[in-house]
């Protein structure tokens, strides 16, 4: 069975929580990507900004110095490397998104009861990876 690990892109483009809409646009254009993860100072992933979120911000007439934290979505659409490609497609279809982040759980140096693990993004699987799978 084909797994997410076989089709994902390793490594994740990130911006920090103080980045602006303009910063995100530059990162997306420069690296030709359609989504970035937003990380906090402790390295924990706080959210996700996609090209659709940028489009919505433009339509709403937001200024280019809008903070990413105002337009990001919660970092909830995640899978692990062992998830099947079909299951990843089902999640994308159901949640109407074009990408899922691939995470590994890690115990942080200082664990708290509310946050016993850090979910470290190690890669991303997108609708174009699904297209590659269908092409085979």
């Amino acid at each position: 069975m084909a797994r997410v690990r076989d089709y994902m892109t390793r490594g994740v483009y990130t911006v920090d929580e103080n980045a602006t809409l303009e910063d995100v646009v530059r990162v997306m254009a420069r690296y030709r990507i359609s989504g970035v993860a937003v990380v906090g100072e402790d390295g924990d992933t706080l959210g996700v900004v996609s090209d659709t979120d940028v489009l919505n911000a433009i339509v709403e007439g937001r200024s280019t110095d809008t903070r990413v934290s105002e337009i990001m979505m919660p970092f909830t659409l995640i899978v692990d490397e062992d998830t099947s490609v079909e299951e990843a497609a089902r999640i994308m279809d159901r949640e109407r998104v074009h990408r899922l982040f691939v995470v590994k759980e890690e115990r942080p140096a200082k664990a708290t009861l509310s946050k016993p693990y850090l979910q470290r993004p190690v890669g991303v699987i997108t609708s174009s990876d699904i297209v590659r799978f269908v092409a085979e």
Partner: protein, 115 residues
């Protein structure tokens, strides 16, 4: 054309959508990466025809429209690309080949150049 062959064209050309034409060369639908995700999630065979999963609606924008207008049409209709057709604004008939296509990534590239 099968889903597999359409996916190969998309993969090889590095694009996320294709215009589907009939034997007379007239546009009859659009197939995108989103349609491929839906097909796989529903267990549709890779060798079945794109006609079964394509969208039969076309969304367009006029070549004179601003990027802001194009962005609004995309958002209102939940699509990631628009066909550029004279006089079009939203859902449109596509009786002939469009002048071009504009996608979200084109809008983002243009914005990056504004600064």
């Amino acid at each position: 054309m099968s889903l597999r062959d359409a996916a190969r064209v998309m993969r090889n050309e590095g694009i996320s959508g294709l215009l589907v034409v009939n034997s007379a060369g007239q546009p009859v639908g659009v197939v995108s990466d989103t349609d491929m995700v839906r097909a796989l999630s529903r267990g549709i065979d890779k060798d079945s025809s794109v006609a079964g999963i394509m969208s039969r609606s076309f969304f367009g924008v006029s070549p004179e429209a601003t990027l802001q207008e194009a962005a609004r049409i995309m958002k209102e209709n939940g699509v990631s690309r628009l066909f550029v057709v004279r006089g079009a604004h939203g859902k449109t008939e596509l009786s002939q080949m469009p002048e071009g296509i504009i996608s979200i990534s084109d809008i983002i590239s243009a914005m990056a150049g504004w600064g």
